[in-house]
Amino acid sequence: MSALQVRRSLLVGLVAFGLLMVPWVFGAFTVSTFTRALVFAVLAMAVNLLTGVAGMPTLGQAAYFGVGAYAGALVSIHWSELGVVQLVVATLAGVVAAVLTGPLAIRGRGVAFLMITLAIGEIGHSAAGRLDAVTGGTDGLSGIRPVVVLPGSEGLVNEGLIYYYVLVVAVLAYLGVGVLLRSPFGLTLRGLRDNEARLRAVGYRTDAYALGAYVYAGGLAALAGSLWASSQRFVAPGDMGFEIAALALLAVIVGGVGSMWGACLGAALVVFTRDYFGQIVSGHAPLLLGILFVLAVYLLPKGIAGGRAQWRSLFPAARAARTTGETT
């Protein structure tokens, strides 16, 4: 076992520890911001699966996020408080929605795909505001019951417990995406991004793979939606609007296109900038986000996950100080 492996293991352990400790260290608002960041991270992974892995930049994942959120919320209100039931139904709803809309979306690539997905998102957003009877219209859907983890146990009300519930599901989603990426299917998706013409020439039905990625991402976004409904206990059409879609895409870009842990970090950065620091300088969250995006594009061309070299080049002074320190 190499030194690198030891270091990586220690890092994973440290991150795991950090995530586990959050509710014990921070106050309720910070914890709920972490919860939102985790949900957003799952959504960002779905966006990244399409954008970064398969090379199809999307502004439509908020639509499936919304489908999942409404599905989860409706299950909670009308049928079952059990988290597992909500997650499964929501994911299935997202998959069905993606299967129905995907064939249209994958007709285009690049900017055409981006715009088709934008249209799907906006139409979904409008429809959610219109379907009063199901979605509660533009005022949103409230009355979602606290999520129950095991049959017979109490619903989760404490921010810390909700955080753990979301954390567990998010980690499982992360592992699920990891397995997918290591599978031949994942390799094929990367091939789709690199060179679709060649993939076709080798004999792949590339549209089938694009659709497969779309459906998987749709289900994953819907899973995130269900987590959103459980943690916020409120769903509104804005949850499937352009703002969420754009922020998710930007989170992926900031994090490093193609890297899943980068997407998660990017999502956390975006959520904390908007909800946490944005509240500290009340009313200027959009300004902070704007600055964040501009700085990220210039200073970290490959995103947070883009390797250590670009980080080091950011701090030449520190590096110089350290080398002189070492020589003396």
Binding site: M115, I123, G129
Partner: protein
Amino acid sequence: MTGWFNAHFVSMVDGVAYGLLLFTLAVGLSLVFGMMDVLNLAHGTLYLAGAYAAYALSDGSWLGLVIALAVGLVVGLVGGGLLAAAVAPLQGRGHLDQAALTLGISLIAAEVMVMLFGAEVLPTAPPAALGGSVSLLGHTYPVYRLAFIGIAAVLAALVYLAFERSSVGALVRATVADRDMVRAMGVDTRKVLFGVFGFGAALAAVGGVLGAPIIAPGPGIDERVLVLSLVVVVIGGLGSVRGALLGALLIGQVQTLGVALVPSYAPFLLFGAMLLVLALRPQGLFAPGRA
């Protein structure tokens, strides 16, 4: 039939006004994308800057309008130049980085404009001489919108001729078709980029000055006109002036006549039309051929 025509006559005329306004916005976006593969999401900001210039400087006189137009032109050229300079270091890094950068810039600019002009929608009066309404085949219609149709039609014709007929236009078209070839011919394509960026931005800002009485400046307007112009551009086909013009006129009608015909489906018309076009022709209606 005449009854139907009579009922929707105003909508059709207004669709032309809207379409021409969209054209002034979309053509710059389309050329910059088609030529240099630059996705500029700060394009709506330029319209907003022009519209705020019109609000701040127009006092109901013709002189006010002229000053506003001059300021709008300068703001557009400078803004376009700055944006071109901002995206220049991103050469070869793909659309996503450009999108993040320009969106970030537009968020910052929007915040600055709110600080300067407040958060209200600021309705902007046209020159007093164009202020009222006239009867158009028995229907009341704002004079300014009629005048706008005239001015914008001339503007569109000039842009079209410059692009299709002049030697500079030929260079731009050649760059759209095959950038490497033009570069190999010894043309500095960066200059072409700056030129087209500045031109497109100036057109958007001038569109903002002229369009302020129709789509008034206010928070969120930048994003709205950006989305509209993006829709026009992808419907028309990236990098095509003819496509931008026809796409803009089509969307203009969808947004007026279409809405008048089926008002209850109004929120779905814009994107529904775009989906329909892209489903049939993913490359847009008038995509120029690439070598």
